[in-house]
């Protein structure tokens, strides 16, 4: 393992964790901070799939919702303690990931839209009134758990740390390089003996777990929610845009994307919202047309020169 890995951990992950550990003492809106962490995790999870395997899952929110409902069902049906149920949420997301793994055979736009359809299908299944005894159906979920925001926040930071460490590791490990090779030129890579299929599956499931765990944490904090709230397409879209904006495949890129854009989103909610959808749409278009490599590419170019 080259020295780059510990250096990246020290320079990116630790300061970020430190920042978010201190912020609650300085800024009172703890829920907003938690949501920042949620998006940081989602962006990094998406980074795993897109940055390393080249798949853009429009339906990434499906794993998030699966985690949220896995958590809720374990709590309401099995009376599980919340910490265990969070792990259960992660497991639920992995199960869905395995179920959907045949989609990895598809390329490009097919994959993107098929994953979107899968997330929608999962939502519609869960929200169906016939299943209300299991999932609460369209009437939503209502969890009665003790109020422990600090514990939840710390758990979210732990999940963030693990996810980012995984991304950092992939960036500098042989496995990660193999993945990137497979993404850029699948035929050559498989001729070089790289097991593409297995590699992709591993990354896919890893990103599913990340979303599932943080989805469970979100459900824990929200405690009352309708199905649409945890299967909201905006989770996918934001994660994609934040990651693209910062630069997929990098460690710090998605972080910048989240801090800047999600911060802007909340700030605008507080001041000038009507133009948000318009501005956001324009931003997306400009991003794809002029900066498809994201901000990180700008910095890299500067460094190289």
């Amino acid at each position: 393992m080259p020295k780059a890995f510990p250096r990246e951990v020290a320079m990116v992950i630790l300061p970020l964790l430190l920042l978010f550990a201190i912020l609650p003492f300085v800024y009172d809106n703890g829920l907003l901070l938690l949501n920042f962490v949620v998006f940081l995790v989602l962006a990094q999870g998406l980074n795993l799939t897109y940055g390393f395997a080249g798949y853009l899952p429009f339906g990434y929110v499906g794993f998030f919702g699966a985690g949220a409902y896995g958590f809720s069902m374990l709590v309401t049906l099995a009376g599980a303690p919340p910490l265990l149920a969070v792990l259960g949420g992660g497991a639920a997301a992995v199960a869905i990931g395995l179920l959907l793994s045949p989609l990895l055979r598809l390329q490009g736009a097919y994959f993107g839209l098929a994953s979107l359809a899968a997330a929608q299908a999962l939502l519609q299944l869960i929200a169906n009134p016939n299943l209300s005894d299991l999932t609460g159906g369209p009437y939503g979920v209502k969890l009665t758990l003790p109020y422990t925001p600090r514990l939840i926040y710390i758990l979210a930071l732990v999940i963030l740390a693990v996810t980012m460490t995984l991304v950092a590791w992939l960036r500098h490990s042989r496995f990660g390089l193999q993945l990137k090779a497979a993404r850029d030129n699948p035929i050559a890579a498989s001729m070089a003996g790289i097991d593409i299929v297995r590699g992709r599956l591993v990354v896919w499931l890893a990103s599913a777990v990340a979303a599932g765990l943080i989805g469970a944490v979100f459900a824990w904090r929200a405690s009352t929610f309708f199905p649409e709230a945890v299967f909201d397409l905006n989770f996918s879209i934001f994660a994609i845009v934040f990651t693209l904006f910062g630069g997929a495949g990098t460690l710090a890129g998605p972080v910048f994307g989240v801090l800047l854009l999600y911060g802007l989103y909340n700030f605008i909610g507080v001041s000038a919202p009507q133009y948000f959808q318009l501005g956001f749409g324009l931003l997306i278009m400009l991003l794809v047309l002029f900066f498809p490599q994201g901000l990180a590419a700008l910095f890299r170019r500067k460094g190289a020169a």
Binding site: A114, Y275, Q277, L282, I284, V288
Partner: protein, 291 residues
Amino acid sequence: MLAYALATGVIFGLYFALVGVGMNLVFGVMRIVNLAHGDFIMLGAFAAFWLFRGMGLPAPVVVALCFGAFFLIGLPVYYALVPRLQRAAEPEMLSLILFFGLSQVIEAGVAMLFGNTERSIPSRLLGGGPVHLLGQTIPYAWFYAAGVSVVMMFGVYVYLYRTQLGRQTRAIMAQKQEAVAIGIDVHKISAIAFGIGTGLAATAGVFAPFMLGSFTPSIGVPLDLTSFAVVIIGSLGNPLGTVLGGMIFGVSLMLMRTYFSSFADLLPNLVLIGVLLIRPSGLLGKRVRHA
């Protein structure tokens, strides 16, 4: 009830074909998924709203105006967005995001200008009363829309198979690199295809208020998934396969509504996934290279 579900499925399915054919053409020629497709349909619906209700124009005029106007709008949109996009590393995936951004811009703009309330158009503006079939009724508007759809499909067929531009379009759809090599002006042909796609979307939009009950600025994104499903079932790149895709989709939807109504909206998504996994080239298409 079964026969009625089948009959309505086929008729509504023809309309779905019209909804999907524009997206099919664009994807076939440019390998781009136009997620703003649904929003062009929505714009067509708004245009029809004013032309029908505001100006009282007859239906064929409205259709012609909308197709023409949106064809012309599609051309600059193509030139502004697509050539740059295709220079990126993964244009197909990025096209999803780019056109999603466009769809948000269109939706936001329309919502800001005209508000979010539901609008609809009385069917009597199309003329004709309910048609009695198999002991039950089908609205006249459905037949009208299905008829227009058949006409437009025929027009697409004639364009693709009987005109010079159409032949060139098919050449690009089949083998892009070779088409460039033999000197076909890919951008010009693609722009025209994009314009036709947009025009077709707007035409589908003209009938959307009649087929869908009412419309708001946000009907765009859900229509995208329906469109894509229809395209995939029929076959990608074969615009006429869309007719088959539409009918199959329509029939399955009506059957679900009859027998398992609360799951009716689950079906399109399952069908899309199922077809992609089992036969991604669609029912009429050629094999698609897997990753």
